[in-house]
């Protein structure tokens, strides 16, 4: 069982989360210990160890089919792990899920509602099942959350006629219908227009301000980079990197980017010099060089090899590059 992350990247345990929110209850909002899930012969998730500190906004990154949703479902107690254990707000799941889930809001695998009911009726049905909501508050809570996600005008239309974005907003509303300590959002921006995406970002920001822990899974890297304090990267069912965002980006900056048309030659030359070199994911032809000789020496090597160096800069690693590299190495 290989549980370790790739050697190039330290899977340092996550530091306690941001300034806000650490006062709330358990220091760890969600935890996975050696989680493994097998569907028939397919291993969906393998040996995942993860801790989500209270108050953090964790971006869960990974291509489609990398196991994000399966991991989330196991954390919520919707699926039993084949092996390993999960914990939610200090309670083992699924055994004690009933104690944790009232304080957890979730949007998993897209919004699920009944087409013959209006958005409001659908939410009322969800609200009726919420343990922490008094019966007398249901109508108010539903009205308020509809406003919060920007669906007040469409609340009394049938769900059948909703656009993809409106459905997504309603799903978000169901997750936020009562104040939560933990909100889990699986691909919340799917189908949303830019304004919708901004709204989701705003809501995540509000939740973070309010001290809640948020787990957002997304394949949109910019999304995660803009809103998250922590990141977990999944690839083919295993966790390839976790950590808080600044230190992850820091760890990824020990190299330089060489902008050049002679990509192949550059890679060859740098690898001969003992460096790790690979093509940049950016649109311009460029090569990322890591662990090589110091920059001046490297550049002179390249020039001597006949590479036309248009530009050489210290790599300003963004999440996109980090992600590309991680998934390329393991994939």
């Amino acid at each position: 069982m290989t549980t370790s992350s790739p050697a190039t990247f330290s899977s340092a345990t996550l530091a306690p989360g941001g300034s806000a929110g650490s006062a709330v209850g358990a220091p760890v909002a969600a935890r996975a210990i050696g989680l493994r899930k097998v569907f028939g012969r397919t291993v969906a998730v393998e040996g995942i160890d993860l801790e989500v500190p209270s108050g953090a906004v964790l971006g869960m990154l990974g291509p489609n089919g990398s196991g994000k949703t399966t991991l989330i479902r196991m954390l919520l107690g919707l699926t039993r792990p084949t092996a390993g254990a999960a914990e939610l707000l200090g309670h083992p799941v699924p055994e004690q899920a009933a104690w944790a889930l009232p304080q957890v809001g979730a949007l998993v695998e897209g919004p699920g509602f009944h087409p013959f009911l209006s958005g409001r009726e659908n939410l009322c049905r969800v609200a009726a099942a919420e343990p922490l909501l008094a019966s007398s508050e249901i109508a108010n809570a539903v009205g308020a959350v509809l406003k919060r996600v920007g669906l007040a005008d469409a609340a009394d239309r049938r769900y059948r006629g909703y656009s993809l974005g409106m459905k997504q907003r309603l799903g978000l509303a169901a997750a936020l219908i009562v104040p939560r300590r933990l909100v889990v959002l699986d691909e919340p921006t799917n189908g949303l227009d830019p304004a919708g995406t901004r709204d989701v970002r705003r809501i995540i920001g509000e939740l973070h301000e309010g001290g809640a822990t948020v787990i957002v899974s997304s394949h949109l890297l910019a999304e995660v980079e803009a809103t998250c304090t922590h990141v977990a990267v999944l690839q083919a069912g295993t966790l390839v990197a976790t950590g808080d965002l600044p230190s992850l980006l820091e760890a990824g900056t020990s190299g330089m980017v060489v902008v050049t048309p002679d990509v192949e030659l550059t890679i060859r030359t740098m690898r001969e010099a003992g460096a790790t070199a690979y093509r940049s994911e950016s649109t311009e032809p460029a090569v990322v060089v890591k662990d090589g000789p110091p920059a001046p020496e490297a550049i002179s090597l390249l020039v001597r090899a006949g590479v036309s160096v248009h530009e050489a800069r210290r790599s300003r690693a963004n999440l996109e590059e980090l992600f590309a590299r991680l998934t390329e190495e393991t994939g």
Partner: protein, 357 residues
């Protein structure tokens, strides 16, 4: 432990499912198949004498008929065909009674209120009314003669052709009973193996009649109580008020309930005695040569003779002539082309001998 509750709950649920499957099996086990009860031994004579002495009592019960005689179902008498049927019976022990014959689609009700005999048929929604004056109760008045003597006499008469014995005990409708067995004597040429009568050990009334034929372990006919309780019955049961809006017909002179009237002028002759008695009669209607359908307009479908016998049986012939042979589990019938009918609980050969006489 909280962890265990999930598994415990699943185990309980699985247990419930299994228990219910078992329960379904138990429901399916026929009741009344209990062990034979222990009863003090009794001789056939004493048993029959006590039956003759028994006073009729008020009771209600359900009688089940398991018919495997192999007869064709007759239009107005579905009970004749193979299959099970039930009847619900109430009696006040003093001549009044009520019988209900339920069928899936309806019911026939027969009520004898002491002066009038009512017959209701839900399929036609008609009531037939017969006066019972001059018609004695269904039971012959056995008390008039000395019961012990009558029993002895009956047994003596039967002994010439039968073996009579008490053969163990049985439980019928939850009541312990003696099994009285009548078996044909060795010289009797019959299709029947034996007739068993279960007699209530306490009330000394017959509870079940079983007819067993040669070559089969399953009864050809079993008529018995499936449910029986003694005690006073609701008076209302022994009255009948025709429901509003139904037509009430005055019946002809009441004759033994459902039994069809015998056609006039056709007196059967009896050949032989005992178990191999053969009844030879003239075919009631139609010329002997009439091998076609009997006249369909004849409104006597419920007479055995009214059934198209030509369609039944297999052709046979011999010195006596030719005809068709109909065999069932317990009886054989030959309908000759010259219009005679011979029937009995006997093999074919006995019938043809009787016809040849």
């Amino acid at each position: 432990m909280v962890k265990r509750t999930g598994n415990a709950g699943r185990n309980v649920a699985a247990g419930l499912a299994v228990a219910c499957v078992v329960g379904l099996g138990l429901l399916a086990v026929p009741s009344g198949a209990g062990a034979a009860p222990e009863l003090p031994p009794i001789s056939a004579e004493d048993l029959l004498a006590s039956v003759a002495k028994a006073k009729p009592e008020a009771f209600n019960g359900t009688v089940g008929l398991e018919n495997a005689l192999g007869l064709p179902a007759l239009p107005n008498l579905p009970q004749a065909g193979n299959g099970d049927s039930t009847a619900r019976i109430w009696s006040d022990g003093a001549g009044r009674g009520r019988v209900q014959l339920p069928s899936p689609q309806g019911e026939r009700t027969l009520v004898s209120d002491g002066t009038t005999f009512w017959a209701w048929d839900s399929s036609t929604r008609t009531v037939t009314k017969h006066s019972e004056s001059g018609h004695p109760g269904a039971k012959p008045d056995v008390n008039a003669t000395d019961p012990t003597g009558a029993a002895t006499e009956a047994i003596n008469r039967l002994r010439s052709t039968s073996q009579i014995r008490v053969d163990g005990t049985a439980e019928v409708a939850g009541r312990p009973a003696y099994e009285l067995v009548l078996a044909p004597a060795a010289q009797e040429r019959t299709l029947l193996r034996e007739v068993r009568i279960a007699i209530d050990s306490e009330k000394r009334v017959p509870l079940r009649l079983t007819v067993l034929s040669n070559g089969s372990n399953d009864p050809a006919l079993q008529l018995g109580f499936t449910d029986l309780s003694f005690g006073p019955q609701d008076e209302k049961l022994f009255t009948f008020t025709p429901p509003p809006g139904t037509k009430v017909e005055e019946g002809e002179k009441h004759d033994q309930g459902q039994r069809p009237q015998r056609p006039e002028g056709v007196e059967p002759t009896i050949v032989g005695d005992g178990w191999d008695t053969v009844l030879v009669a003239k075919r009631p209607e139609g010329a002997p040569a009439d091998k076609d359908q009997p006249d369909k307009n004849q409104p006597d479908k419920d007479r055995p003779g009214g059934v198209d016998l030509n369609a039944l049986g297999t052709p046979v012939s011999g010195a006596w002539g030719s005809g068709r042979l109909i065999t069932t589990a317990v009886a054989s019938v030959i309908v000759t082309d010259d219009g005679r009918i011979a029937m009995g609980a006997v093999p074919e050969q006995v019938l043809t001998e009787a016809l040849a006489k």
